[in-house]
């Protein structure tokens, strides 16, 4: 063929399709021969785990949507019907509800891995920003999904979160009325949340495709945070990484199954098995665990607008993180001071999460305020300064050098050959 793609596939059907739409060539290039740094550890599997969770959420969500009714009069009952009457309804709903938590666990580990190994630094800024957008879309999807069973926590969580927007002067109240489609959280609100909850996962899927495309342009980061300098530093994606990822996915699914089958309501709230009542607020409104650190930041600020801005700001700093961190060294392995502050940040996030689950008074309020202060100090002051002040440890010359003594040095192209067997 003079025009079109010259396919190298042998199978005539595959070749016929591939020369018109080179999808097989693309898949071969991106998921077969794609060079992965040979030193990546199991933390690099959490991207694949998160992708598997997204697929599970879309699959279970689709069949649940066929049974669920988004109307305030019957929403709660339709969920109970799924639990009791629909074939395997209990399984599908518990897979979906716990799947959301497992999805967030995978994504939080994925984010902290990026923070530790500096995966957000040049040239991976867009890759990182797309990841933050995915995180935001996940939060929106999870929040609206939690409203659908129309229990007390659904209703009051929706009320509190939509009311966040009323903090903005002038435009606040019209925005809230517009979000509700009425004067309180009611049937129009439930209906549109269902529509958006169905739509957003596909938006996330599209973002994940972009995220992966951006990743495959820059190549994967690795625990040393230095670029792969040639074939001696990498292994082909298939079979090395596919098998490793698959093993990690199976281990993760075992944990997931443990929750689904043995403690399916552990991460939920008993109050959500009480049907929504607009006239009675539960004594203690708590969001799902994955929002708790942000909820703690919201409540730590004594001013309504200030609290809302701080909470959104906590995510906004992640967007500009590639420019806040002034250090050129990616991996914490070679940043002896920042490495310690990374763990302070990780503990800070856990402490904020715990404070967010506690009543906002007394010691917990103080702890949340200290945690919030550190969170912003870390990103806005510590990271820009530390890049200038810290003396990083010497970086190895290449990925393969520290592993294979003397081999794989940049200049030593000849030594690459015996390593092909590795």
């Amino acid at each position: 063929m003079s025009q079109g793609h010259t396919s190298t596939f042998k199978n005539p059907v595959v070749k016929w399709i591939d020369s018109r739409l080179p999808i097989f060539t693309m898949m071969h290039h991106e998921y077969n021969e794609y060079p992965m740094p040979r030193n990546v550890n199991y933390l690099w599997a959490f991207g694949a785990i998160a992708a598997v969770m997204l697929i599970i959420m879309i699959a279970t969500g689709l069949v649940l949507a066929m049974q669920y009714a988004a109307n305030t009069a019957i929403a709660f009952d339709s969920v109970e019907r799924i639990m009791r009457d629909v074939n395997y309804g209990w399984l599908l709903r518990y897979l979906h509800a716990n799947g959301a938590s497992m999805f967030f666990i995978a994504v939080y580990i994925h984010i902290f891995r990026g923070l530790y190994y500096g995966s957000y630094k040049a040239p991976r800024e867009i890759l990182w920003i797309l990841g933050v957008v995915i995180f935001l879309a996940m939060m929106g999807t999870a929040f609206m999904g939690y409203v659908l069973p129309w229990g007390q926590m659904s209703f009051w969580g929706a009320t509190v979160i939509t009311n966040l927007f009323s903090a903005f002067p002038i435009v606040g109240d019209p925005i809230v009325t517009w979000l509700w489609g009425g004067f309180s959280v009611d049937n129009p609100t439930l209906n549109r949340f269902f529509a958006l909850h169905f739509l957003l996962p596909f938006v996330i899927l599209a973002l994940v495709i972009l995220h992966t495309a951006a990743l495959h342009i820059c190549g994967s980061n690795n625990p040393l945070g230095i670029d792969a300098k040639g074939p001696q530093d990498t292994v082909p994606f298939n079979p090395y990484v596919t098998v490793k990822d698959l093993f990690a996915v199976v281990c993760f699914l075992i944990l997931y199954a443990a929750f689904v089958f043995f403690m399916p309501n552990y991460m939920g709230h008993p109050d959500n098995y009480i049907p929504a009542n607009p006239l009675v607020t539960p004594a203690h409104i708590v969001p799902e665990w994955y929002f708790l650190p942000f909820y703690a930041i919201l409540r730590a600020i004594p001013d309504k607008l200030g609290g809302v801005l701080a909470m959104f700001g906590a995510i906004a700093v992640l967007f500009v993180l590639p420019w806040l961190d002034t250090s050129k060294v990616r991996s914490c392995k070679f940043r002896p001071i920042y490495r310690q502050f990374f763990w302070v940040l990780a503990i800070d996030a856990l402490v904020l999460g715990y404070a967010g689950a506690m009543p906002a008074e007394g010691i917990w309020l103080l702890i949340a305020r200290i945690g919030t202060t550190y969170y912003f100090f870390h990103f806005l002051i510590l990271l820009p300064l530390l890049g200038k002040l810290e003396r990083p440890l010497p970086l190895p010359a290449s990925i393969s050098e520290p592993v294979l003594k003397g081999g794989g040095h940049v200049a030593a192209g000849a030594t690459a050959k015996p390593m092909e067997k590795a």
């Binding site: 009320t159 509190v160 517009w178 489609g181 129009p188 203690h284 409104i285 906002a360 008074e361």
Partner: protein
């Protein structure tokens, strides 16, 4: 004109006096502007469809009979999907509400402008912080430090006029539009 600044390089004539601007640039901008207005106009029905519908707006008014509400008692009615607090205030509560120095309040309002008849306090029972329903309607509820209402979600205290006195809420409990039809009957909305 051997060179043109225009990227298409078709040698569009430069406007007289203009430095590198051409009629084509003007047409691009004008077309773009008209297109943007058109897109915004077409988007409006989609956006506005999410605002309250006519049937939601139609549920706007209800009447409430006050005769069975004894002094010191409170009732909660629903209006536009929101809880409305109606309290038959005691003389002590009225005095407390009037005695407050409004200059000290976060959202300064005299008690007189918040009621039509001093013994009847009518409020939208939604905390102005994040929309929870404050406690204080039942005799056994905590009423906060100011003999009014207490929001358990984030700890806002309201006084016996429904004004914010302590906690994160920025504003007083709102007073809905209402009118006395006669001495013992009001119309909300």
């Amino acid at each position: 004109m051997a060179q043109t600044t225009h990227p298409s390089g078709t040698g569009a004539p430069t406007a007289p006096g203009g430095e590198g601007t051409s009629r084509r640039d003007f047409l691009y901008l004008a077309t773009g502007a008209v297109g943007a207005v058109g897109v915004a106009a077409a988007a409006w029905p989609f956006v506005d469809s999410m605002n309250p519908a006519a049937d939601t707006l139609a549920l706007a008014s209800i009447e409430v009979d006050l005769a069975p509400v004894a002094e010191g008692q409170s009732i909660t009615v629903t209006w536009r999907g929101k809880p409305i607090f109606v309290r038959h205030r005691t003389a002590k509560e009225i005095d407390e509400a009037k005695a407050v120095n409004t200059a000290e309040l976060r959202d300064p309002q005299k008690d007189e402008v918040r009621v039509q008849k001093p013994e009847w306090l009518v409020l939208i029972g939604i905390c102005t912080h994040l929309g929870c329903v404050p406690l204080g309607q039942k005799p056994t509820d905590p009423r906060g430090d100011f003999d009014g209402w207490f929001c358990p979600c984030h700890g806002s205290h309201y006084d016996s006029s429904g004004r914010i006195r302590k906690g994160p809420a920025p504003l007083n409990l709102a007073v809905p539009p209402y009118a006395f039809l006669n001495d013992s009957r009001i119309k909300l909305g």
